[in-house]
C-alpha cells in the first residue's frame, strides 16, 4: 500500500486563498484517483505561503481490471452505422464480435482494460487537477500558457512504500516532477531530497518551514500570549487576523512592541484598525486600563539580532501610520459634525437619488416621524439622524472606511452632543448581518430604521432592486435589518403608511401626464392578493400625500413599488423566521389575508397558527378545510356557479349538519373579538371548536344530496367554513392537510 506525497511549490500564495486551496487539492486529487479506480485510506492537505501539499495514505497499488461490453448496430445495418460505432470505440472491424440478439445479429465491442499502476493514475490525476485548479484568481507568467495562482516552480510527486520510494513520472509545461523541494526562502533555500510524508514534514521543519497552518497559528497564539503576559498585558483576540498571519509566514517568529506615548490617546478602534489593516499586527491591551498599548509583529525568520532590526523597522512604519491617523483625528476634531454634514451636500449618494445631504434630510424627517412610535424624543431623533452620517466626510473614515459610525460617535461626543445622538451615530448602521446585535436605544432605533427604509424605498423607486445573486447595494441586508429592528424592539408600525411617506420623499417629480388607470392598478394589486378595501385606503393615503407633486402615473407606480417592497420584506421575514423553524407556507397563510403590514402582528398570528397546526385539532381541521374547499371548487367548476350565498339552517337535514351550523355561528362570534384583541391563540381555540362538527358532517352527510336545494345549501355551507376560517388565516396556503 504506497503513500503519495505531492507538493506544488510556487511563488507566494495569497493568505486568504490558502485554506480553500488546500481543501480543493485534497478533494480534487482524491476524487480523481477514485474515479480512475484507485482507492486510498486517508488524505491530508497542508498549505504554506509557498506550497500546497497533499499526503495520501494507503493507496492501492493498481486499479482493478475493467471489462466493458458495448452493443453496436445490427449486422445488416447500413455501413455508416458500423463506421460510427468503430470510431466511437476506437476498434477495428476484426476486433468486434457478432452475437445473436433476439431475431438478428449484432456487433459487440468487448474491451478489456487491464488495471493500471498507481503511478500512472496519480500522474494523470495530478496533471488534470493542476490544469483545472479552481483558484479564485489565477494568472499566466513568462511565455507559458499554464495558469496558477502565482508562477509554479516545482512539483514533488512521490509514491513510497517500506521498500523505498519512486518519483511519479509527470511533467506539466516543462516542470518535471521530482522528489525534492526547498526550505525557507531565506533561512534554508537549499534543495531538500525527501522520502515519504513523515520525512518531508521533518526535513521541512529543519529547513525552517512549519507545514501545518494550524501549527503555525498555534505557535503564534502561544508565543504572543507568553510575550504579552510577561509584561502584564494581554493579546486582543482576532482569529481571522491570526489565520491570515499564519498564511503569511512559513516560520513564525513573534515579536512585541509598544505604541509610542503620543499615540495612546487615539481611540482604541483607530489604533487597532490602523495596525491590523496596514501592518497585520495583533493588538495588545493593558487589562487594567483596557487600552491598546502594544502590538505583536509576526516575522517570517530568525535573525542574528533576535529580531531587533525587524522590530525597529516595524515600529518606525507604525509610527508613521499612527502619525497619519493622529493627523486625521486632530483635523477631524477641529471640524464640528454640522460642518462635516454640510460637506456631504456636495457628495452624490446616487445619481438618481441626489446628494448625501438630501438623503440625510429625508432620513432626519423620517426619524422624527418614527420617533413617537419607538418611544424616542422626536427632536433628539431628528438631530441624531442629521449627524449620523457626518463622519463620512471625515478624514479618518476616508482613510479607514471600516471605522464609519465608530468615528461618528467619537466626534459627536467630543462636540458635546447628547449621548443618545452620539450612540446613534455608531448604532444606526446595525444590525449589519443576521448575527449583529439589534440596537435597543430608542433614538438609535429611530435613526437605524429611517436609514434602512429610506435606502430601500429609494432603490425601489429608481429602480435598483436586488436580482438573483446581484445585490450591490446590500438591500437584502437592509431589509433584514429593518425586520430585525422591528421584531427585536416589539415595534408596532403600519409599514404601508410609513413607506408611502418614504417613497414620496424619494420620488422625483415626473411630468409625464398619463391618465391614471385606477381600475388597472386595482386589478394588478388584487392579483397580488390584496383586499380591495386595503387598496382603496392605501390609494387615498398615497394620493393625499403626493397629489400636488406627482402625476397620476407616478403615484400609481410609487404605490406599486411600496407594495412590491412590502412583499420583499415579507420574503426576507420568511428567510429570517426559517431559522426559528417557522414554515414559509404558514407565513403565507397569514400574509395572504392582505393588509398585513404590521410585522409584529403578522408574526404573532403566524406563531399562533403554527402552534395550532401542530396540534391534533389543528391538523384535522386543516384536512377538513381542504376537503370542504376541494369539494366546493369541484362542484363550482362543474356547475359554473359560485356557491357563496348564506346557507340556511332550516334546510339542514342531518344532526351533524345542524351541529355544524351552530358551531360556525359560535366560532364566528368568538373569533371576531379575539382578533380585535390580537388574541390569536384565542382565535385558534375558537377554530378548534369546528374540528369535531366538520369531521362529523363529512362522516355522516353527503354534500351532493339528491335534492338540488339541499345540495346547494350544503355547498354554501362549505363556503361558509372557508369564510369563517379565512378570517384567521388563508388555510389554503398551508401545505399538507
Amino acid at each position: 500500500m504506497p503513500d503519495l506525497l505531492l507538493e506544488l511549490l510556487s511563488e507566494e500564495i495569497p493568505a486568504r486563498m490558502q485554506a480553500r486551496a488546500a481543501e480543493d487539492l485534497r478533494r480534487l486529487v482524491t476524487e480523481g484517483l477514485v474515479e480512475r479506480g484507485l482507492t486510498y485510506a486517508h488524505a491530508t492537505a497542508f498549505v504554506t505561503p509557498r506550497r500546497l501539499a497533499l499526503a495520501v495514505a494507503g493507496l492501492a497499488e493498481r486499479s482493478a481490471a475493467l471489462r466493458e461490453e458495448r452493443k453496436g448496430p445490427r449486422v445488416d445495418a447500413p455501413e455508416k452505422a458500423l463506421e460510427g460505432f468503430l470510431r466511437s470505440t476506437g476498434l477495428a472491424r476484426e476486433d468486434l464480435e457478432i452475437r445473436d440478439d433476439r431475431k438478428s445479429q449484432v456487433w459487440f465491442a468487448v474491451t478489456e482494460r487491464p488495471g493500471r499502476a498507481a503511478a500512472a493514475i496519480v500522474a494523470e490525476t495530478v496533471e488534470a487537477v493542476v490544469r483545472g485548479f479552481p483558484w479564485p484568481k489565477s494568472m499566466r507568467w513568462g511565455e507559458g500558457g499554464l495558469r496558477w495562482v502565482r508562477p509554479l516552480h516545482g512539483i514533488l510527486c512521490q509514491l513510497s512504500t517500506e521498500a523505498g520510494s519512486e518519483i511519479v513520472p509527470l511533467e506539466i509545461e516543462g516542470i518535471r516532477a521530482g522528489d525534492t523541494t526547498r526550505g525557507h526562502r531565506f533561512m534554508a533555500p537549499e534543495t531538500i531530497r525527501v522520502s515519504g510524508v513523515e520525512d518531508y514534514a521533518a526535513r521541512l521543519e529543519r529547513a525552517r518551514v512549519l507545514l501545518d497552518p494550524a501549527e503555525r497559528a498555534g505557535r503564534i497564539r502561544h508565543d504572543a500570549k507568553q510575550l504579552a503576559f510577561a509584561q502584564g498585558l494581554e493579546v486582543v483576540e482576532d482569529e481571522a487576523l491570526l489565520a491570515e498571519i499564519a498564511g503569511l509566514v512559513e516560520w513564525p517568529v513573534v515579536l512585541m512592541g509598544r505604541i509610542g506615548e503620543r499615540f495612546l490617546d487615539l481611540p482604541p478602534e483607530v489604533l487597532q484598525t490602523s495596525m491590523k489593516a496596514h501592518q497585520k499586527f495583533l493588538s495588545v491591551r493593558d487589562p487594567n486600563s483596557a487600552r491598546i498599548v502594544g502590538y505583536v509583529v509576526v516575522a517570517n525568520r530568525e535573525t542574528a539580532d533576535d529580531g531587533a532590526t525587524i522590530l525597529a523597522g516595524n515600529a518606525r512604519v507604525l509610527a508613521a501610520r499612527l502619525a497619519d491617523a493622529a493627523f486625521f483625528w486632530e483635523n477631524d476634531l477641529r471640524m464640528p459634525p454640522e460642518a462635516m454634514v454640510a460637506k456631504l451636500d456636495g457628495v452624490t449618494f446616487h445619481n438618481r437619488l441626489g446628494s448625501q445631504g438630501e438623503r440625510i434630510a429625508r432620513i432626519a424627517a423620517l426619524a422624527r416621524e418614527i420617533a413617537p412610535l419607538v418611544g424616542a424624543d422626536p427632536d433628539l431623533a431628528e438631530r441624531a439622524a442629521r449627524l449620523a452620517k457626518a463622519d463620512l466626510a471625515s478624514e479618518m473614515v476616508y482613510e479607514f472606511p471600516e471605522l464609519q459610525g465608530v468615528m461618528g460617535r467619537y466626534y459627536a461626543e467630543r462636540a458635546g452632543e447628547d449621548p443618545a445622538v452620539a450612540a446613534a451615530a455608531e448604532e444606526h448602521y446595525s444590525p449589519l448581518g443576521p448575527n449583529d446585535a439589534v440596537p435597543k436605544a430608542s433614538v438609535s432605533v429611530a435613526v437605524a430604521l429611517a436609514d434602512k427604509l429610506d435606502t430601500l424605498a429609494g432603490h425601489w423607486w429608481i429602480p435598483e432592486k436586488p436580482t438573483g445573486s446581484r445585490d450591490p447595494f446590500a438591500l437584502r441586508r437592509a431589509g433584514l435589518g429593518a425586520i430585525r429592528l422591528i421584531l427585536g424592539n416589539d415595534l408596532r408600525l403600519k409599514l404601508t403608511e410609513l413607506l408611502i411617506g418614504v417613497m414620496v420623499a424619494n420620488m422625483q417629480a415626473s411630468k409625464a401626464a398619463e391618465a391614471i388607470s385606477r381600475a388597472g392598478l386595482l386589478d394588478e394589486l388584487e392579483k397580488k392578493g390584496l383586499r380591495q378595501d386595503v387598496i382603496d385606503r392605501a390609494f387615498e393615503e398615497f394620493a393625499s400625500e403626493s397629489i400636488s407633486d406627482f402625476s397620476d402615473e407616478e403615484i400609481r407606480n410609487g404605490l406599486l413599488e411600496v407594495y412590491d417592497l412590502i412583499f420583499f420584506l415579507t420574503d426576507r421575514l420568511k428567510v429570517h423566521l426559517r431559522g426559528e423553524g417557522i414554515r414559509h407556507d404558514v407565513i403565507d397563510a397569514a400574509f395572504q389575508l392582505g393588509g398585513q403590514d404590521d410585522l409584529m402582528l403578522l408574526v404573532a398570528r403566524v406563531r399562533a397558527l403554527q402552534d395550532f397546526l401542530g396540534t391534533e385539532d389543528g391538523a384535522n381541521l386543516l384536512a377538513g378545510y381542504k376537503r370542504a374547499v376541494n369539494i366546493l371548487s369541484q362542484e363550482e367548476k362543474k356547475d359554473g356557479v359560485e356557491y357563496s350565498l348564506d346557507p340556511h339552517p332550516s334546510l339542514a337535514e342531518t344532526d351533524a349538519e345542524r351541529a355544524l351550523f351552530t358551531a360556525l355561528d359560535a366560532a364566528e362570534v368568538a373569533i371576531a373579538p379575539a382578533l380585535d384583541a390580537e388574541d390569536f391563540a384565542g382565535a385558534m381555540t375558537a377554530l378548534a371548536g369546528l374540528r369535531g362538527p366538520i369531521d362529523a358532517f363529512f362522516d355522516t352527510t353527503i354534500v351532493n344530496a339528491e335534492s338540488d336545494i339541499v345540495r346547494r345549501n350544503r355547498l354554501c355551507l362549505l363556503h361558509r367554513i372557508r369564510t369563517v376560517m379565512n378570517r384567521v388565516a388563508v388555510f389554503s396556503a398551508v401545505e399538507g392537510g
Binding site: E12, P151, A312, V347
Partner: protein, 306 residues
Amino acid sequence: MTAIPASPRCFQDVILRLQAYWAAQGCAMLQPYDMEVGAGTFHPATTLRALGPRAWAAAYVQPSRRPTDGRYGENPNRLQHYYQYQVLIKPSPPDLQDLYLGSLAAIGIDAALHDIRFVEDDWESPTLGAWGLGWEVWCDGMEVSQFTYFQQVGGHDCRPVSGELTYGLERLAMYVLGVDHVMDMPFNDPDAAIPLTYGDVFREAEREFSRWNFEIADTDALLRHFEDAEAECARILAAPETDGAGRRIVMALPAYDQCIKASHLFNLLDARGVISVTERQAYIGRVRALARACADAFVAAEAVAA
C-alpha cells in the same frame, strides 16, 4: 580604488545602485518620460511595451505626480511629486523574485537581518484598463515595492506576460537611510562640498504645487484641457493609417500622449474636489476608453512592424 560602502548614504545613491544593478541584469536604462504622469506604469515603456509579442527589458526613474497627496511639504511621507523606479521585463523571467531580492541587496537591505515578505496585492489601473497579479513587497512591515505579473493592458491579454517592479524611491530610500522625514533625507553625499537634503531640492516645490493643486488651479480650464486632450486623442487615432506620402504610420504614441494628459488633468480636477463620486467613475471610464484605443493602435502598429 575606494571601497563601495555596504549601504547607500543618500537618495541619489539608492537610485544609482538600482541603475547599476538593473543595467547589469541587461535592462535598457531609459530616461523618464517627459510628461506629467501619476505613476511609472504610464511611461509608454511599460504600458505599451507590455503589449505585443516582442521581448523587452527596461528600467528607468519616473517622476510621478499625485496632486491629492500634496501636504505642502509638511507630511513626513506624502508628496504630490515623487519618484518611482520602474523595471519591466517581458517575458517575465522565471527567477524574477530572486532578481528582485538581488536589487534589495544592492541597496543595502540585508535579507539575513530583515523580514522580507511578498503580500498579496493585485494591481489594477482602472484608467489604463490594465490589471495583473502579484504582491506588495514588505521589508519589516514597510511596503518597499510593487511586484506585478501583467495579465491585461488596455483590454488586451498580455502574451507573453511582463514582470513589472515598481519601487517608491523616497519611501525606500528613507527606510534604507533611516530617515523619518522625507525633507531631511540627504539628496547627494552628505560629505559633499555642497550637501543638499531632499527638502533643499523640493520643499518649496511641494508648498507651491500643493497650493496650486488644491486652491488655485482653474477648474474650468482644466476641464477644457481634458476635453481637448480627449478630442485630440480620438482625432489622431481616426486619421488614416497611410499618410500623404503613402507611408503606413499608425500613431499610437502621439495618441497615447493625449491619454496621459487627460489622465493627469483628471487627477488635478480630483484634487480640486470638483468631481463627485459618480462623475469620478465616468471620468475614469473616459480615460480608460482612450487607453484602450491607444492600446489597440499600438497592437496594430506592432503588427505593421512585424
